[in-house]
Symmetry: none
């Protein structure tokens, strides 16, 4: 009946899918519910997405694209590696707070369902970004000497885990705390220095 532009419908479906997938995970989410939430018929969903898998992948790509664009912007406009890293961490922290369920969803499905390659590519890009920051930081003497590539992986891993804690266990983490933790580590420098 509603002959709105297809794009309209597509958006509604994606929004609904995000809700439903987030709420119950990929496997338990069912098309009927997504269709209902989108105010569209079941068949309608299949007009825009070939199947459940493609719908999920579509969400995933959307979000990863947005995230990639945002992070690149942020990093580019930073004045120092430390600031870049700071902002990068902050951005992800804030995103996690806003989209807890989505975070859960993707971590949950990451590594199980299809779309692995897409996800891996995204993570590789993000890792390279961090790597670039670290390399710059070392060159400018801001960061201590370390293997940038491996350290980038550690930073990414840490961030992922902390984001997960936030989404999963409602842990409260301020950007400041996280920043300090990543930059300073645990040791007492005086002690260390001697």
């Amino acid at each position: 009946m509603n002959k709105r532009s297809g794009i309209e419908s597509r958006k509604k479906i994606i929004a609904a899918a995000m809700d439903v997938f987030s709420g119950k995970g990929y496997a338990k989410a069912c098309i009927r519910e997504i269709a209902e939430a989108a105010g569209i018929s079941i068949g309608g969903v299949y007009l825009y997405f070939r199947n459940k898998e493609e719908l999920y992948l579509s969400l995933l790509k959307n979000e990863m694209h947005d995230s990639a664009v945002k992070t690149e912007e942020i990093v580019e406009h930073a004045e120092s590696p430390a600031e870049a890293l700071s902002k990068y961490l902050k951005m992800h922290l804030e995103y996690a707070l806003k989209h807890r369920e989505l975070i859960l969803l993707h971590i949950r499905e990451h590594g199980f369902v299809f779309g692995m390659d897409i996800k891996r590519r995204f993570f590789r890009e993000q890792r390279k970004l961090i790597e670039k920051i670290i390399t710059g930081g070392i060159r400018r003497g801001e960061f201590r000497r370390c293997n940038p590539r491996e350290t980038a992986k550690l930073v990414m891993g840490s961030l992922r885990g902390i984001v997960l804690s936030i989404a999963l266990d409602n842990v409260v983490v301020t950007p400041r705390m996280l920043n300090e933790f990543i930059l300073n580590g645990l040791l007492n420098k005086r002690e260390n220095r001697k």
Copy 2:
């Protein structure tokens, strides 16, 4: 066929369940497959576990218990907070390498499926352990002053994420690298010190 020792069968089921659940996640795993993998009939599974949920929960409890025991032991026998933390991290790293799929499974299902309370309790205990280490470290001047409770959460989160990276993306992380990362942070101390 083997009509004796229910305990034997129970073990086989648990082992099979670990495999199958790990391989495809809770929702997609099916009892039939678990039974087959265990070399047992479908009905046989229900002789030892009331239902799918209980089977999963059983696995979970087992592993969390083992892990709790191991970590406590390790921490108790350490000579200094730094060493305790080191060993704690190392243990989890090694566990992650050995049981990639299991790690994935539980992280994946954490926060979605039942058993939330059990998991939360486990994480709380682990966090307290880290907290104790940190508090001791600060008191002895080994660690820098910080809020032990919040920092413990960060350490746990970081560890979780890195373990996840290992399990998920085959990232290689040596205990030494991780230790350095957590203890020292990224900053160059010279820079920091002045």
Copy 3:
């Protein structure tokens, strides 16, 4: 195949369910068979009835409603209590002959499966109807003095049992015979009278 008119399908399912339930009772009847008998897929059944229980209850309500309407009509149009009772008995006798299996089904499940309250309510209404007839009959001197309420229960019980015999054991009972039995009893009145 026939993609139209859900009502059509619903009717076919109900008819099939009546057959199958009647033939083997609630517990042994299986949805698969009902679906087959209705010329519909398994899932199709669940499009119209939430589950097996609801399907059964649906049948039950339908029939009880029809029966209630019919009996009330009959009683209202009778010219005397004796005639009303006569017609009431006749109607049930004829129904029993036509729907043997259905009678069996409901008697069989009465008191075991769910829907108890619905059935009880129906029986209460029917009993009240008979009670009214008897009260009227006593007032007009047609019937002998008796407790209308208790006697109504006896009439209902008797009828139920005789209907059961018809359905179960193919006993042949003519309305005339039944009428005479209920109205006159066994005793010889001459004997009685003195």
Copy 4:
């Protein structure tokens, strides 16, 4: 372990089966539960009864035999047809009150499950008994003239229905009421007589 005489075990099983079958009907009753209630192993049940069906049939035969013996005795010792019928009705009424569930069970399963022939034979015998009473009653002028065979069926049907009402709906029926109902019918004899 318990090496009591087999007869002991057999009795315990029968008693347990009566309970469980009565409580949930044949289809839903399960051997495990019966075995448990009998304080015997599952396998143990199969030592005494070839299968579920035979166990049920065994119960049935027991009860029908007892009932047949009792009714015959009662009828033989009565001094008049009216008294015989009275006592017969009374006995069944009392039995119904004491063994509500059992009554339900057999009525419920009558006509569905196996054992039809056994049941039919029993009912035929009982009917013949009543028939004999009625024939005697007519000959002695106690009962009004009627077809003894058909009337016996009506009496049996009535009784069955009333017993059912008692078992099913907790209807209260005294032997006196029932007797009067069956013997006198509803009509006012004065009216009738003229």
